[in-house]
């Protein structure tokens, strides 16, 4: 399993469009990507639940990636976060 943390810089927080596009990005891999914050978690493919975590600008999330291609998936997800959120 790969794990890293990321702090959201987008003023709107983890909002609908980038969160949805992130789901698409993660779908290219077989690994499962999960966001964790304050004891709550959501897979990135579950957009509503992910948005339901109410992640705001300045919040730090833990990202866990697990699966056969976790290495590649984790770096793609991290790159996406840095560029979009």
């Amino acid at each position: 399993m790969k794990e890293f943390t990321y702090t959201i810089t987008d003023p709107l927080g983890l909002h609908a469009r980038p969160a949805g596009l992130l789901g698409r990005e993660a779908k290219k891999f077989s690994s499962t990507t999960t966001f964790i914050r304050d004891g709550r978690s959501a897979r990135v493919g579950a957009l509503m639940k992910l948005m339901g975590m109410g992640i705001k600008q300045g919040d730090t999330v833990t990202v866990q990636v697990e699966g056969d291609d976790e290495e590649a998936c984790a770096s793609a997800v991290e790159k996406f976060l840095k560029e979009n959120l």
Partner: protein, 551 residues
């Protein structure tokens, strides 16, 4: 005549008949089915069909109202990919043996409720998107005709609330204005109304069914709706509306035009902004660049001291979107009236003359270096200008430049790409204006902050309303300091701009141009009116009567 009020969401005047837009209601078949596979297939087909519709709506909205209004439809398309949502519908069909329509209603209502229960207004507003998607799914599943009869007569639209799809499906050429019972200033209706330049009134509690078809005036300036108005009112609002239209058309002609006087002097008209969200306004008003980007937002919107990466992302976004336009970012100007918890600043007797801006940055070097490194890294994504505020001495400017140079060497040592950028200072203290010749040696540009310059020159606290009778925005001392600064800039071949409120004061535009000011940076909404004034000036003619003289 009846009147109704509410909250203003977009300005303007609309005169015409009311059309009430009723929400479609329908009975959902809650019977059970044997053929669950067929229902599941219908669900899947509907989901794909609605995603296609959202892509069409996205294109249509992008063309009629721009990328910002259209983005929501892309989000809709993505929401329909939600694994949990699809799974919930699938379970209701396969395990409970319900039909697709029932499954959609149950699962989507649950998701909408989750958003409604959230604290953050942005996420709360997403419940309307889920309801919108539910309706679109049900329209497909129940084979309902979704294109309403719209007729050919323009109308003022009155509704409970409008979903994004409804607003896009409306024939825009017939719309005069919006009135809704629900909604907020950041709702889709309000955003759409503003982007279309139509008036909108929200939270109008008095909406009544019998308004349908009645003649009305919507006064978006005062958030008031007149139903069956008197003839006098119609005449007065018709006059107001045609003046609005004339003004609008005139300003639109100036989009893409240069800010050049009749005798060929070009001035750069820039915009002042407070954060990445203002970028759209810069583009919509055709500003030629950003003359003052107040970087305080990165500090004020954060609960903790923002990291270098956080700042870098914010600056990069603005520079990239506005490239190749120049963006002048002012380094942190907190202190005085803008205090921040995590900075632990002491209360001061006289904060305007206290520990603020560059004085904080030069004593808290690590804090300052984080911002400078973020700025330098962002330089590769556009045309950056870095501006230091509250300068009073040559020593300060040299120190700032030394720290900046250290940061540059570090970053370049790490292989980070840094593009050419300009370095300038705010001239907002009488000390800086009087030493402008020495300071000009050290920088690429000056930007006159006339608000503080006026306050410090006249010793008048600009927050104190009692001092109003003593204040003179055109005080000769201030105009003389401005002239001295501009002349010093000229002598040293650097450019000079004005980013304070005086920059937008059109009674001074000619004076400033004659002095030799190169750039005026104003609120985005003042860009086009200012360009109009500049284009009407002829500096080759003798000084006019209206010109304000500082002697």
């Amino acid at each position: 005549m009846r009147t109704a009020g509410g909250i203003k969401a977009a300005e303007g005047i609309a005169i015409g008949r009311i059309r009430i837009c009723r929400a479609s209601v329908c009975d959902i078949d809650d019977s059970l089915t044997e053929d669950t596979a067929a229902e599941l297939a219908r669900f899947e087909q509907a989901r794909i069909r609605v995603q296609e519709q959202q892509r069409v709506l996205y294109e249509r909205a992008r063309q009629s109202a721009g990328e910002e209004s259209a983005a929501i439809f892309e989000a809709h398309e993505l929401m329909l990919d939600d694994e949990d949502l699809v799974e919930a519908c699938t379970e209701i069909i396969l395990k409970q043996r319900h039909r697709a329509g029932y499954a959609v209603q149950e699962a989507f209502d649950n998701a909408a409720q989750m958003f409604r229960d959230m604290e953050d207004p942005y996420f709360q507003a997403r419940s309307a998107d889920v309801v919108d998607l539910k309706n679109a799914m049900l329209d497909v599943l129940l084979g309902r005709d979704t294109d309403n009869e719209q007729g050919t007569e323009p109308f003022i639209l009155v509704a409970e609330d409008l979903t994004p799809s409804e607003t896009v499906k409306l024939d825009k050429s017939l719309l005069l204005g919006f009135v809704t019972r629900e909604g907020s200033a950041s709702s889709h209706t309000a955003i759409l109304a503003r982007s279309m330049n139509l008036p909108a009134l929200i939270q109008c509690r008095d909406i009544s069914e019998d308004w349908d078809g009645k003649f009305a005036i919507l006064d978006g300036y005062n958030a008031c709706l007149y139903i069956e108005p008197t003839q006098d009112l119609v005449e007065s609002f018709t006059g107001r509306r045609s003046r609005d239209l004339e003004k609008e058309a005139l300003l639109r002609q100036l989009m893409g035009a240069s800010s050049t006087t009749m005798d060929g002097r070009s001035v750069r008209v820039f915009a002042n902004i407070g954060g990445p969200d203002d970028v759209d306004a810069v583009l919509a008003n055709d500003a030629e660049g950003v003359g003052l980007f107040r970087s305080e937002f990165v500090y004020l919107n954060s609960r903790t001291d923002p990291t270098e990466d956080q700042q870098f992302e914010a600056y990069k976004r603005v520079l990239k979107t506005l490239a190749p336009r120049q963006v002048i970012i002012r380094t942190c100007d907190i202190g005085a009236d803008k205090t921040i918890g995590y900075m632990n600043l002491d209360r001061e007797e006289n904060p305007a003359l206290g520990y603020r801006a560059i004085r904080i940055c030069l004593t808290r070097r690590d804090f300052f270096r984080r911002q400078l490194r973020a700025l330098l890294r962002a330089s590769a994504f556009g045309r950056l200008g870095i501006m230091f505020p509250m300068i009073i001495s040559l020593r300060e400017v040299r120190e700032c430049r030394e720290i900046l140079e250290e940061c540059r060497r570090e970053l370049e040592g790490d292989g980070v790409k840094i593009s050419p950028f300009e370095v300038g200072i705010m001239i907002e203290t009488p000390a800086a204006a009087l030493c402008a010749d020495e300071l000009a040696e050290e920088v690429d540009f000056f930007s006159l902050g006339t608000n503080d310059l006026t306050q410090y020159t006249c010793a008048i606290d600009r927050q104190n309303a009692k001092l109003e009778p003593f204040s003179d925005p055109h005080h000769p001392a201030v105009l003389r300091l401005i002239r001295m600064t501009v002349e010093a800039a000229r002598r040293h071949n650097i450019w000079v701009g004005i980013c304070g409120e005086l920059g937008a004061d059109t009674s001074l535009t000619e004076t400033f141009l004659r002095m030799g000011v190169d750039e005026l940076s104003v609120n985005p909404g003042s860009v086009l009116p200012l360009r109009r004034i500049i284009r009407s000036l002829d500096l080759s003619r003798p000084v006019g009567q209206a010109l304000i003289q500082e002697e």
